[in-house]
């Protein structure tokens, strides 16, 4: 990891602790509660680091569940756990609602070539990604949008599902482990270019 980025991430955590601790979270506006998020997820919705997910325009239920899981420790993250731990359920839902209404950021990722798209579609037909992520991978409810997500984040989180480093959705771990690495690479390229 880049040392400066590591330093800044530590800064995010430290600032989160200071800011969230300085004022009761229920006395903060939604902008105040979500300011901290821009440090990594981007002030314009474009993540600063490509391995960090886009949350602008993401499904509300999905964002809420991830915040809940960070707080519970079901999804591990030294950065997100202290931030999410400051919030109660209603606040998480409000934060999730706030970001879900932001426009989905265009990360400018290239559309996958035809052969890659076809391979991705075959992989989808085999394990049924769109059975949950829905048509055109837009997501709904507690299932995330994948279309246009950062490619490096997709690569990282799929790898984390496969290794169970991301353990808050074993169903996804099962499906990712049942899919070949080459097919997953094609899916990552295809999805990021949608």
């Amino acid at each position: 990891m880049d040392g400066r980025l590591n330093w800044c991430r530590s800064g995010v955590v430290a600032l989160a602790v200071i800011l969230i601790g300085a004022m009761p979270s229920n006395a903060q506006s939604i902008e105040e509660k979500t300011q901290i998020c821009a440090g990594c997820h981007g002030a314009d919705g474009k993540p600063i680091d490509k391995t960090i997910p886009s949350i602008w325009g993401q499904q509300q239920g999905y964002i809420y569940i991830q915040l809940r899981d960070f707080k519970r420790g079901d999804r591990k993250s030294d950065i997100m756990q202290p931030i999410a731990s400051a919030f109660e359920r209603d606040e998480m839902l409000a934060i999730a609602d706030y970001f879900s209404k932001k426009p989905w950021p265009d990360l400018g990722q290239p559309r996958a070539p035809k052969d890659v798209s076809e391979r991705a579609m075959k992989a989808n037909a085999s394990v049924g990604c769109t059975g949950c992520h829905l048509d055109r991978f837009q997501g709904d409810g507690t299932v995330p949008r994948l279309a246009g997500m950062g490619r490096d984040y997709l690569t990282k989180t799929i790898a984390d599902f496969r290794s169970h480093a991301r353990a808050n959705n074993p169903g996804m771990s099962d499906l990712m482990n049942a899919t070949s690495p080459d097919d997953l690479t094609a899916l990552e390229e295809y999805l990021s270019g949608l």
Binding site: D2, R4, L5, W7, C8, G11, V12, L15, L19, Q28, S29, I30, E31, E32, Q35, I36, A38, G39, C40, A43, I48, D49, Q60, G61, Y64, I65, D74, L93, A94, A96, D97, Y98, K101, K122, N124, A125, S126, V127, G128, T130, G131, C132, L134, D135, D140, G141, T142, N168, N169, P170, G171, M172, S173, D174, L175, N177, A178
Partner: protein
């Protein structure tokens, strides 16, 4: 400035921004638009009881309480069906998987779409009368698409169950909400896609969630108030059963009973997270005041290691007393299922021949296994099962880490698609999938309402898929005729007194067949997957056939948003 410096600058700037103004938060609003009022008379219980003889309306999801999907009108018949043409097309606001069974009351049609929208339409013209856009909660957790299979009407209320696990009663004339009640917690994996069955002032509703570690149920609510009357847990606290080693057809399921008993001693009965959803409507036997329904798969789908025992009453036909919800009998098709070849297509009440040839009240169910099972209605016991309607290979090989090939694939056979029957011909009509798959197992602990498959089902890309329409003589179990289709079939089928069956395909084809021979007599291309059960009705002395063409999420058929009604010249 590089990106890392920007992070730091952002952090430094945060404190100064924190005092910014609060945004007014938007809330998802329930909306209702009305172009008119649905001029309907209240639907009486007597009308519902006699729905099987009603050649004007289509009052229940599967035609009548016996769920025969046999429509008694015969204006459209074998001789003139070739003249069938589009009467009108209504385009819904939702272009996503469409599984609705249109309900028709006195010229007013009620249809639903994905995400729990409800529309009232003029059944003669397709004109929208009102639209109920459900205010969906932020948490929805569902398998196999945001589907909705329809409504039922009693009195002046229209009942719909929603994706966020609510039961809602709407004013049949206006679409206004009269009452709404929470059925279960969607954060724990509960959701609703089935149409309610309303009978004797009770609204009967099951639940989805077998892929999320729920404890399944069938509930009865007071139709006037929405108050809960009874709950039947589809998984009893003693779910162990008889340690069955063979399925209902007598085939060995390769269970390791000793290992299961050791697991039971170690972790106890797994009933609390054992799944057992109820995906489709119960049939109602008005003469005995009993209901019959089927229960879905155990959780997790493919991993049986942490759920020792038969996992009662998953993968079973179950009968209850309508008034009390008390258990009467059951018959389990697959004990300790690790293939998700569960029971989802709604059961049908017909008279059948028992083993001695005597005609008795029966109940039949089409399984994902590809068999039609014929039961004695009195005690649920299995009388016979049909010839397999789809290829079966390597049953019951256990799932492995790298995947074991077995046919049928996990969607069936017969999925949730309702069958139709023609009691005069003693035939049941089922639509089937053929999707070769490998079954993979991977153990993981209960994930708090998340997807919990315990492995994966994988379609084998190199193997050809197909489907079929099959007519089975339920008194002999023999296949009478079968029509092969180029793609797997999911949606539903309707038989009519005109000697026809109507069904659709994922490629957009909607067709009529001679119900005695399977000969195709008419077809239409809808432009999107016809993966919904057809209905029929009469308005102004004219018979109509109506069906949704919206594709399907589960099998990924081309999406659309059309409700299409057909009539003769």
């Amino acid at each position: 400035m590089n990106k890392h410096s920007m992070v730091c600058a952002t952090l430094v700037g945060l404190a100064g921004i924190l005092a910014g103004p609060a945004n007014a938060q938007e809330t998802k609003q329930e909306t209702k638009s009305a172009a008119g009022v649905a001029a309907v008379s209240p639907v009486t219980q007597e009308q519902l009881n006699a729905a099987d003889k009603n050649s004007k309306n289509f009052l229940l999801t599967n035609g009548n309480y016996a769920q025969t999907r046999f429509y008694p009108a015969k204006q459209i018949g074998r001789d003139n069906v070739k003249n069938l043409h589009v009467a009108w097309i209504f385009q819904t606001d939702v272009k996503e998987s469409l599984e609705t069974s249109p309900i028709v009351v006195d010229g007013v049609m009620y249809v639903t779409t994905s995400f729990s929208h409800v529309y009232a339409l003029d059944a003669k013209t397709g004109q929208q009368l009102w639209h109920y856009n459900h205010k969906m909660g932020p948490i929805t957790t569902y398998c196999c698409g945001p589907n909705n299979r329809g409504v039922q009407v009693l009195g002046d209320l229209v009942y719909v169950a929603t994706l966020d696990a609510k039961l809602v009663a709407l004013n049949a004339k206006t679409g206004d909400v009269v009452w709404s009640t929470d059925i279960a917690d969607p954060e724990l994996g509960y959701s609703e896609t089935m149409a309610p069955t309303v009978v004797k002032d009770k609204v009967l509703i099951g639940t989805n969630g077998g892929e999320y570690g729920i404890r399944g149920f069938l509930k009865a609510y007071d139709a006037k108030t929405g108050k809960l009357i009874w709950t039947f847990n589809t998984v009893p606290e003693n779910s162990v059963g008889v340690w069955a080693t063979k399925d209902a057809t007598g085939r060995d399921m390769h269970r390791d009973i000793q290992a299961e008993k050791a697991q039971l001693a170690k972790t106890g009965d797994p009933y609390a997270k054992l799944g057992g959803g109820v995906w489709q409507n119960p049939a109602v036997d008005l003469a005995t005041n009993r209901i019959y329904f089927v229960v879905g798969n155990p959780s997790p789908d493919l991993d049986g290691s942490n759920r020792p025992g038969d996992n009662l009453y998953t993968d079973s036909l179950v009968s209850l007393d309508l008034d009390t919800g008390k258990y009467v009998c059951h018959s389990q098709y697959i004990a300790h299922d690790v293939w998700d070849l569960d029971a989802v297509s709604p059961p049908v009440l017909v008279n059948v021949k028992d083993k001695s040839g005597k005609t008795i009240p029966g109940v039949i169910h089409a399984g994902k296994t590809g068999h039609i099972y014929v039961h004695d209605r009195k005690d649920c016991s299995l009388i016979r099962f049909s010839e397999a309607m789809v290829p079966q290979e390597n049953m019951w090989v256990l799932p492995t880490k790298d995947g074991a090939r077995m046919l049928p694939g996990a969607n069936g056979g017969v999925e949730w698609s309702p069958i139709a029957t023609d009691p005069g011909q003693e035939l049941a009509y089922a639509i089937n999938l053929h999707q070769p798959m490998t079954y993979h197992v991977d153990s993981s602990p209960y994930p708090n309402g998340k997807l919990w498959l315990g492995g994966a089902f994988k379609v084998i890309p190199s193997e050809k898929q197909s489907g079929n329409i099959t007519a089975v003589d339920y008194d002999t179990g023999k296949i009478k005729w079968q029509v092969k289709t180029p793609e797997p079939m999911i949606g539903g089928i309707l038989a009519t007194a005109g000697g026809l069956v109507f069904t659709g395909e994922g490629n957009g084809k909607f067709a009529a067949y001679n119900s005695s021979s399977g000969k195709e007599l008419w077809s239409f291309r809808a432009g999107a997957g016809v993966n919904a059960p057809p209905s029929s009705y009469m308005v102004g002395g004219k018979q109509y056939i109506v069906v949704g063409a919206g594709g399907n999420t589960q099998v990924d058929f081309h999406r659309g948003n059309n409700i299409i009604a057909f009539s003769l010249d």
